[in-house]
C-alpha cells in the first residue's frame, strides 16, 4: 500500500516537473532560444539541487513518510517543521501582513494553531497595504533577515523576483508537497505564482471583483415592468457597463434618496482596478508593445474614464470619497440596489456570516440578508484585484521552516478553514474551495456566490504584472482622482500616459519592453 502510494506520488511529481519543463520549452525553439532555455533550465536545476542539498534530511524524510501515508501536505509540513524545531533550527517565524482583518487570521487562528502543532511561534508584523511593498524592498536591501514569510501581491512578483527578494520554491515543493495540491489551485491563481518558469509563491487569498445586487428589488414585478417599459430590456444582472448604468440610473430615479441604484468605490485609492478592467474590456492596451509608449489616452481610455465619471451622477452624493467600508455600510443598510463590483467578503458580510465574532463587531447589521445575488463584472471579464501569496524571503535565516508554514497554510485542508474564517478577508482560490459543501451550506446563496467567484476567476483580467507594478497602479489612481477632481478627461489621461512613460524610462525601456512582452503572453493580460 505504502509502495503504491509512493509510486503514485513519484508519478505525479514526474508529471509536475515534466509539465513545468514543457511550459518553459513551449515557446519558440530556434537554436538561440533553445540554448538560452537550456541554460536557464540548467541554472534552475543547479539552484534546485543546491537548495535540495540544504534541506534538512530528517525533515524531508518525515514529510515524505506522511505524504506516502496520507498525501496530506498540511500534515507533511507539520511533521517536517516539528523535526526542524526538535533539532533547534527554528523557534520563531515572522510574517509581514496587511494590518487589520487580514492579519487577524494569522494572529488568532493560523499562528496559534501552527505553534500548537509544531512548537514554532509565528510573529505577525502588520503594515498598511501601501507600506507592505516598500517595507519588503527596504528590508531586503538592508539584509536584515527580519522577515521570513512575505505576503506578496501577484502584481509585485516581477519586482520581487528581479530584485531577489523572494526565494524560488520549486525545490521545496518537490520535496515537501503533494503535487496534486498544486493542481487544486485555480489555474488563474496558479499561473500567478510563477515567474520566469519558477514558482515563487503559494496562493493565499483569491481576489477577483464581483458584482452584487438586491434580488428583492430586481425580481420585483413592479420594477421589472417599469424597467422593461423604459428601456425595452429585461431587468437583470448587467452584462455591460452601459447596462449597469441603465439599471443604476433607473433605481436611483425610482427610489432615491432612500435607495440609490448602485455604488462603486470611487475613492481614488485603488480605483485603478476598476479603470483597468473596463479599459481593457473596451479594447484598450496599456502600451504599444513595439515602442513602449503608453496608450491610456486611446478611445478606450476616454470612453472608460468618461463613463466612470458619468456613472457617479446616479450614485449616492459624495461617492467620490467612498472606499471599501463606506460602500459596504450603505449596502448593508439597504441604501443600494447594486454594488458596481468589489471584493468577495461583501457576500459574507451581507449574510451576517459569523457576525457574533468579536472581530466583526465593526460591521453594521445587514438589512439585506437573504436578498443578495452576485454577477460577474460587466463586460464578461472580472478583474483580479490584488490578492496575496505566501512567499519565502530570500533573506530569511529559516527558509525551510518559512516554506513549511506557507505549505501548511496553503494546503487544501487548512486553507479551507482559513477562507471560512468570518473575520478574515481571505477568499477562495482552490477548486476544492469553490466545490466545498461546507462552504456552500453557510448561507442559502453561498453556492451561487462560489460559482460566481469561480466564473470570475475563469475569465479574469490580471493586474499589470511587470516591474514597478505598484507605481503603475498609483499612476492610474492619480489619473482617476485628477479626472474626478475636475481635470478634463483627455488631460487626465495624458497625465497618466506621462506617468507611465516616466516609469518605463525609469525601469529602462528595453527591460520594460521585455517584461511587458511577458505580461501580454499571460492569459488574462487582455480579453481573449
Amino acid at each position: 500500500m505504502d509502495q503504491s502510494r509512493d509510486r503514485k506520488y513519484d508519478e505525479r511529481l514526474y508529471q509536475f516537473v515534466e509539465s513545468r519543463v514543457k511550459r518553459m520549452m513551449a515557446a519558440s525553439i530556434d537554436r538561440r532560444s533553445f540554448l538560452k532555455k537550456s541554460a536557464a533550465a540548467t541554472a534552475v536545476g543547479i539552484g534546485a539541487a543546491s537548495v535540495r542539498a540544504s534541506l534538512t534530511p530528517s525533515a524531508v524524510s518525515a514529510a515524505r513518510k506522511v505524504l506516502q501515508q496520507s498525501g496530506d501536505s498540511a500534515e507533511a509540513a507539520v511533521a517536517a517543521a516539528r523535526k526542524l524545531r526538535e533539532e533547534g533550527q527554528v523557534e520563531k517565524l515572522t510574517i509581514i501582513s496587511e494590518a487589520g482583518l487580514q492579519a487577524e487570521d494569522l494572529k488568532v487562528f493560523s499562528g496559534p494553531l501552527w505553534k500548537e502543532l509544531t512548537g514554532i511561534e509565528l510573529e505577525v508584523i502588520e503594515k498598511p497595504f501601501d507600506e507592505i511593498f516598500p517595507t519588503m524592498v527596504q528590508e531586503h536591501l538592508a539584509g536584515t533577515g527580519a522577515i521570513d514569510i512575505l505576503q506578496v501581491v501577484p502584481a509585485w512578483l516581477a519586482d520581487c523576483v528581479t530584485q531577489g527578494i523572494v526565494e524560488p520554491l520549486n525545490p521545496y515543493i518537490e520535496q515537501y508537497m503533494n503535487p496534486a495540491d498544486l493542481d487544486d489551485i485555480h489555474p488563474t491563481y496558479r499561473d500567478l505564482m510563477n515567474y520566469g518558469g519558477q514558482i515563487y509563491g503559494l496562493f493565499d487569498d483569491g481576489d477577483t471583483l464581483i458584482g452584487y445586487y438586491r434580488s428583492d428589488l430586481f425580481e420585483d414585478p413592479v420594477h421589472q415592468d417599469a424597467f422593461r417599459q423604459q428601456h425595452g430590456k429585461e431587468l437583470g444582472p448587467p452584462a455591460t457597463w452601459e447596462d449597469y448604468d441603465l439599471i443604476q440610473t433607473y433605481f436611483t430615479e425610482a427610489l432615491a434618496p432612500e435607495i440609490y441604484g448602485g455604488a462603486s468605490q470611487r475613492n481614488p485609492i485603488q480605483s485603478n482596478h476598476w479603470f483597468s478592467q473596463e479599459f481593457r474590456v473596451r479594447g484598450g492596451k496599456f502600451f504599444d508593445p513595439e515602442t513602449m509608449q503608453a496608450t491610456l489616452d486611446s478611445e478606450a481610455g476616454v470612453a472608460t474614464l468618461t463613463r466612470m465619471l458619468e456613472s457617479n451622477k446616479s450614485m449616492p452624493p459624495g461617492v467620490e470619497q467612498w472606499g471599501f467600508v463606506e460602500v459596504l455600510t450603505a449596502w448593508l443598510q439597504g441604501q443600494l440596489a447594486m454594488v458596481g463590483c468589489t471584493w468577495p467578503p461583501y457576500a459574507r458580510f451581507s449574510e451576517e456570516y459569523g457576525k457574533d465574532t468579536k472581530q466583526m463587531e465593526w460591521v453594521p447589521p445587514s438589512t439585506i440578508s437573504g436578498n443578495v445575488k452576485y454577477f460577474v463584472m460587466p463586460g464578461g471579464w472580472s478583474q483580479q484585484a490584488s490578492g496575496f501569496m505566501l512567499n519565502v524571503s530570500a533573506d530569511s535565516k529559516a527558509k525551510e521552516a518559512a516554506y513549511l508554514f506557507s505549505q501548511w497554510a496553503n494546503s487544501p485542508t487548512i486553507s479551507l478553514e482559513r477562507v471560512l474564517l468570518p473575520y478574515s478577508l481571505r477568499d477562495p482560490f482552490r477548486i476544492s474551495h469553490y466545490e466545498s459543501q461546507e462552504y456552500r451550506s453557510k448561507w442559502p446563496n453561498a453556492g451561487l456566490y462560489l460559482d460566481t467567484l469561480r466564473a470570475s476567476a475563469d475569465n479574469c483580467l490580471l493586474d499589470l504584472i511587470m516591474p514597478a507594478a505598484h507605481d503603475f497602479e498609483v499612476a492610474m489612481d492619480q489619473m482617476f482622482g485628477a479626472a474626478q477632481g475636475g481635470m478634463p478627461v483627455e488631460e487626465a489621461l495624458a497625465q497618466g500616459n506621462q506617468a507611465f512613460n516616466d516609469l518605463v524610462e525609469r525601469g529602462g525601456r528595453d527591460a520594460m519592453k521585455a517584461a511587458y512582452a511577458e505580461f501580454i503572453k499571460l492569459k488574462g493580460a487582455y480579453p481573449a
Binding site: 501601501d130 516598500p134 524592498v137 527596504q138 536591501l141 519586482d159 528581479t162 530584485q163 475613492n267 481614488p268 485609492i269 449616492p316 452624493p317 459624495g318 467620490e320 470619497q321 516591474p467 514597478a468 505598484h470 507605481d471 498609483v474 489612481d477 492619480q478 489619473m479 482622482g481 485628477a482 479626472a483 474626478q484 477632481g485 475636475g486 481635470m487 487626465a492 497625465q495 525609469r506 525601469g507 529602462g508
Partner: protein, 315 residues
Amino acid sequence: MSVTSGSVTAASETHRVGRIQSFAGRRRFEGWLMVAPAIVVFLALGIFPLIYSLVISFQRRDLMRANTNEWVGFANYSKALRDDRVWNALQNTIGLTVFGIAIEFVLGLGLALILVDELRGKRFIIPILMLPVMMVPVIVALIWRMLWDNQYGAINQILSWIAGHDVNIVWLLTDKNRSLVAILVTQVWQWMPFMFLIMLAGLAGISPDLYEAAALDGASWWHTFRDITLPGLANVIAVAILFRAMDAFKIFDLIFMMTKGQPGTSTETVSWYIYDRGRQALEMGYAAALSFLFLIFVTIVATIYISRFLRGHEA
C-alpha cells in the same frame, strides 16, 4: 634655611601646580568621557544620515533598480526644479503655512486678549483650549476626516442649519481648493491654541503700569493695543511665528490621513512628495535631493525672517 625653605616652597608649588594640572586634565578627560556617548549618538543619528543623504542626492540611487549608485552630479536637483509636482507641492505648502499661521495668530491673539484678564472659569477654559495641541496629528486628521464627511459629518450638518436647507458639499478628494480648505481648517484647529498660549504668556509679561499710564492719558483701546500691546509682544510674536512656520512647513500627517495628495496630485505638500518619492517610489537619490532643496529653501526663508524681525527687534 630660607634657601631650603624656598626650594621646598617652589617644589611644593610645582607639585601643587602639577596636581592641579593633572586634576584638571583628569576632569577634562572625564568630561569628554561623560559626553562621549551623546556625541557618538549625535554623530551616528544626526550627522551621518545628513552627510549620507547629501551623498546619495548626487547619485541615481533607485531602490527599484539594481546598481544605481552611479554619480549623476546635479541631475536630481535639476530634475526637481523642472518637476511640476514640486512646484505644486511648494505652492500648497506655502499657502497652508502662510494662511494657517495668519489665522492661528489672529485667533490666538484674540483669545489671549480675552483670557489675559480675570475671567470666570479661566482655570478650566485654558486647559480645554490646549487639548488639540496635545493630540496626535494623525488622530486629529481622523476625527476631522469624519467631520468633513459629506453624508455623516457635522460640518455639512452645521452648514445646513445655517443655510436653512440641506448642504451636501463633498469636501475631500473632489476639488483641490475645497480639500485644501478642509486641511487648513483642521490645521488651524489643532495649532491655534499653541499660538494662544504663547500670546497669553507674552501679554502677561507686559507691565500693567503701561496700561495704567495709557488709561490715565485717555488712550483708546485701539491706541493701547497698537502702541503698547503689539510692541510689547513683538519679540514673542516673531518667535511664535518662526516656530509655527518651521513646523507648518513640514505638514505631512494631515495630508497622509485626509487626501494622500489627491485629487490627482493636487494637494501634495513638499513633505508628502518627498515621502512619496522616497518611501513609496523608492527613488532615494531624488528624494534626498528634494529634501536638500527644501532645507535650503527653509534656511533662506528663516534667515531672512530672523534678520528682518528678530535681530531688528534686538537692535
